[in-house]
Symmetry: C2
Subunit: 177 residues, 2 copies
């Protein structure tokens, strides 16, 4: 059973984000006014393998002001399928070619207030980069074997939530555990 | 290397959320105006064991309009330590007593635009509930063994990102894999 939506007002609405201020009647009969919901586009998290190694990227993130070691990721464009988005974004961010892709999972981050679904795609990458001019936002592209990546998650060196979720889940689904 | 912040304007600022509209100079020299950053409080994700079984909750989430099977979670109050917050929230949401707690990991969800850190806490729960009046937002409290929970993550029945990340990571850190 969910809350009853009484009123909704759009506060922000641009190409990247929509923020609504909603008034609800909660299930125990309380009025909850001005609850902010955030919508962003759906996105892909790309767990790619190159010669059996994982392709990770190091990237600064402005929301927290920290640098993260994680998986390539990006928003799905209008009309684009998740696997196509993953293959496109992977090549843009890493310079490797995406030879094939398979959708393995769908995860929802922060669903208490956020609508923006993550599609986890497994990509088979070319043996070598085909393009050296990777996305300007990427600091470094690294190849790590699975156990090294898991060890970095254990130690907190991989601590972006989507990277930790995708790393373990894909490892389990591929039977690499 | 990060973007250079040129200007920041607070658009929303209440007890639960702050939204800023920031203007940046990106590292390749582009002007990026009106980039929205969201701040919410830090929170705990509670992986609790009761007689060797995991304590999960079923809960409707208004951001996506879906119901999730996941771990108890909640915001850390001002001045509260993560473990204390986890023990308090766990008891509020499940009715079980938290006998002890240990901080195992810190994860950042959506750091490209969100500042709100997840502290993953492992809790040892009482054998039986001590209070039947659990949080009104919780639809059901379930005890699942580790393998059943992992199987549900594999099948997409546990698909809240924080639950998937915490389940696998804590299992690995506790050596239950």
């Amino acid at each position: 059973m969910s809350w009853k939506l009484l009123n909704s007002r759009t506060v922000i609405d641009d190409e990247w984000i929509t923020v609504r201020s909603n008034d609800y009647l909660t299930r125990d009969g309380r009025s909850l006014n001005g609850y902010y919901l955030i919508e962003r586009g759906d996105f892909v998290v790309i767990v790619a393998e190159c010669r059996g190694k994982l392709v990770l990227v190091r990237e600064h993130r402005v929301g927290t002001g920290r640098q993260y070691l994680g998986f390539p990721a990006g928003y799905i464009e209008a009309g684009e399928a998740p696997v196509a988005a993953a293959m496109r974004e992977f090549q843009e961010e890493t310079g490797f070619q995406a030879l094939s892709g398979k959708l393995l999972a769908e995860l929802d981050p922060q669903p208490a207030y956020l609508k923006s679904r993550a599609f986890v795609v497994h990509v088979q990458a070319s043996d070598r980069p085909i393009d050296r001019s990777t996305d300007d936002e990427i600091d470094e592209v690294l190849l790590l074997d699975w156990e090294t990546a898991i060890d970095k998650a254990r130690k907190g060196e991989i601590n972006e939530m989507q990277a930790v979720a995708a790393l373990y889940l894909v490892r389990d689904l591929l039977g690499k555990g």
